[in-house]
């Protein structure tokens, strides 16, 4: 057995790091070279000398933070070499441009899952099963209580929620990149045919998606001084950061909801302060994580981004899979 220092990829200063290539994956502090799995802000930090990502991630990042960052891009599946290590991006199904990253060195394969999901999502490429020896997987929802419903069922629930209260303005809070576009895509298939407004941050991302060839339903950019009557019976998509504070005073007679995997638990739903919760997530549920672990054929698995104790114990006891711990 190798010591932690000898693994090709390990944890250093709170992020994944490959010493042999001197390259970091989604680092939380500025470094020389950073591989970026996707364009969510908790996977990205300013000030790195060079970024490497998929083409889509690069465009979304630039849309969010401006053009003056240096990004090298590769297609999904295209291999590139750093210090003798073969590296490639593969679709992870999380959001547009999101990827798993595979490292091959001395015939040993390592796979970083990135954030991923297996569920249907027409706004991004489907998760690709990649075989590996070592798997580093996220486990945000690594408990068997998390089992997602089909996204069209959730969209129908949202549609009913809006149409059942025609007198109200329905505010749906969701992450502006990925979740919002997926929801728009699903909601356009439901019976709800009223107006949909979106906050500027979401509007911007919708446009970027369209530029990248993804069809997204048209929404109206929400102006602060909209007449209350116009908004009655319509849906407004807002980023969660606006759910607290004075922004909501712009509206009257509202009902609020949050679209997140955590909303499947009643205590969290109640504590969140929203009227309603819709359990829809861009992360894998318990069955999804197990499926990926099995299909990857990994002999050794690491978990991060989540409470992995139960998941690890389960895999060791039930599936006889070797689960390793990073020394953090």
């Amino acid at each position: 057995m190798r010591t932690k220092q000898e693994y090709l990829i390990r944890y250093k200063d709170g992020s994944l790091y490959c010493e042999l290539a001197d390259i970091w994956i989604d680092p939380s502090k500025p470094v020389k070279k950073a591989l970026i799995t996707h364009a969510h802000f908790d996977h990205f930090t300013f000030g790195c000398e060079e970024y490497i990502s998929t083409k889509e991630t690069a465009i979304l990042l630039k849309e969010r933070v401006g053009d003056n960052i240096k990004i090298k891009t590769f297609e999904y599946g295209e291999e590139f070499k750093i210090n003798g290590i073969n590296i490639s991006f593969h679709p992870s199904g999380h959001i547009l441009g999101s990827s798993q990253i595979r490292f091959i060195f001395a015939e040993e394969k390592w796979l970083i899952s990135g954030d991923f999901k297996l569920q249907k999502d027409e706004t991004c490429k489907k998760y690709e099963i990649v075989k590996t020896d070592y798997l580093i997987s996220e486990c945000t929802f690594g408990l068997p209580i998390f089992k997602w419903d089909e996204s069209n069922k959730i969209a129908n629930d949202i549609s009913k929620w809006i149409t059942n209260s025609p007198e109200k303005t329905s505010l749906l809070f969701c992450y502006s990149l990925g979740k919002a576009q997926r929801l728009l895509n699903e909601i356009s298939e439901t019976n709800f045919k009223g107006n949909i407004y979106s906050h500027e941050s979401i509007h911007k991302m919708n446009n970027s998606y369209r530029e990248l060839g993804i069809e997204i339903k048209d929404t109206i950019k929400i102006e602060n001084k909209k007449k209350i009557d116009e908004l009655k019976g319509s849906l407004i998509l807002l980023p969660p950061s606006l759910s607290k504070g004075s922004y909501l005073k712009n509206f009257k007679n509202i009902q609020t909801a949050f679209a997140s995997g955590w909303m499947s638990i009643r205590a969290l739903r109640k504590r969140s302060g929203y009227d309603k919760g819709f359990a829809i997530s861009d992360h894998a549920d318990w069955d999804g994580i197990l499926e990926v672990v099995k299909k990857s054929e990994a002999k050794n698995v690491f978990f991060h981004h989540g409470d992995s104790d139960a998941l690890s114990k389960y895999l060791v006891e039930k599936e006889s899979i070797n689960v390793l711990l990073f020394g953090k």
Binding site: L143, P144, I145, F146, K147, S264, I265, R266, A267, L268, K270, R271, G273, D275, K276, G277, D309, A310, K313, Y314, E317, K318
Partner: protein, 546 residues
Amino acid sequence: MSLKKFSELFLDLDSSNSTNNKIEVLKNYFLSNDPIDNSWAIYLLTGKSNKRFISGRYLKNLFSQLYEYPVWLIDTCYLKVGDSAEVITLLLKNKSTSRKKELSNISLNELLSKTIPDLSKLNEEEKNLQIKKIWERLPEDYHLIFNKILTGTFRVGVSIGLITKSISKLINIDEEIISHRLMGNFKPSIDSYEFLINKNINLEELNSKPFPFLLANTIEDKIFKNSINDFQFEWKYDGIRLQLIKRSGNVSLWTRGQELVNETFPELVEKMSHIKDDFVLDGELLVWNFKEQIAFDFSLLQKRINRKSPTRSIQIKYPIIFIAYDLLEINGRDIREIKLENRRIELEKYFSKWQNKTENNISDIFKICDLIFPNDWPDALTYKEKSRENNTEGLIIKKKTSIYSSGRKKGIWWKYKVDPMQLDAVLIYAKGGSGRRAGLYTDYSFALWKDEELIKFASAYSGLTNIEIKELDKWIRKNTIEKFGPVRSLKPEMVFEISFEKIQISKRHKSGIAVRFPRITKWRKDKKINDADSLENAYELMKKIL
């Protein structure tokens, strides 16, 4: 008229934070369902005496056995969810293989009066199989309701008050009347529902029921602007609030939780039945120190509370007294609308009559509360400070001109509690909370210094704001020394001000002391752990009080 409708009602109520909305939802539900299901709905929502058919632990073990799931994994999930019924509901998702859902149209009445009670006729093995069968035949959307009914854990944030309001709106009758009709045991039946929504008010029908209790509010500063003469002052006893009713010769004792406790205090029932008049009295039941004429500690009363049909020796060892502070009805005449000062005159008049004319001496079990007469507000404060000397919790201040309405109405009664005792203690353990606080560390243990060592002296759950809870939760996760199941031992670093009501010697605790109602009153971020109090400080506090 089915479980389906009730499931939808549950979801509607659960996803609404507005009271008016909830009332509207309830009203519509009552309008569109039949009386028997309505009656069951009220029974479940008010959670008055929801029976537990199986425990949460049993449910978890059953699921583990049926679906070959490790118990530890279910327990881990429970820490996140905080409710056994919900954990099992979430785990049951997609488990059922049968497509046919024969039970999708089952009525609430059938489920509650037949399907579930029938379970208890089965032996354990049959019962387990039957529960599995029900799970498979019930649409997934109803699993939560079913599991919650099984485990008797129905809490939806619907209070009796909301039910009262919605029925009052439904039939346009005063809330007070509905509230009175809802008092006492609510037995689900067509009759009980029709009685509730009857538009004709017939007070005799309410004979067996206590009046809705009037509750005191915490003191507000603005009261001090009023003349002291506008108020009646009483000691605030730390016992059980009771309505003592004698109607048509029958005595009944009702707690504020609307429980009939005649069997727990038979000697009181017996003595009071000798009084010739009929009446309704509001007062406090205590275990009484007759020598010193003060109440014994609440812990002695606890020895009586859970014991039905106590033996003679228990009755002698823990002698009870009922201290009446209000007269609400006399010989069939409801006098709640009379001013308090006049009700007091009536109370005193009848009490002296009963004392003189009742064959059996009643004064060893029944008296009326003494009034206090402070000269001014500072004087009232002095009385309050002295309340520990006679084992009371402070003062109750009542407006002399007030009528006896129901609930926690403002501006009628106030409680003026003695300042709590306080110590600064160090946080040493945390445990995951349940229910609303699931997934957060919200149960804390605190320690005091003994030489160089920190000794646990109290556990507290309440007192922090939600924001503080979240902040502390984050800190706890980062500063854990060891995990023992759900409990984490923590780096001693955080100091909190802990307030409590009583402090006494206890051999059961390592610290040698026990405190009552400990709660967090301040997060002392300004203090280092060396500034925290020692056990010695606690002993001094105890001496001061004794």
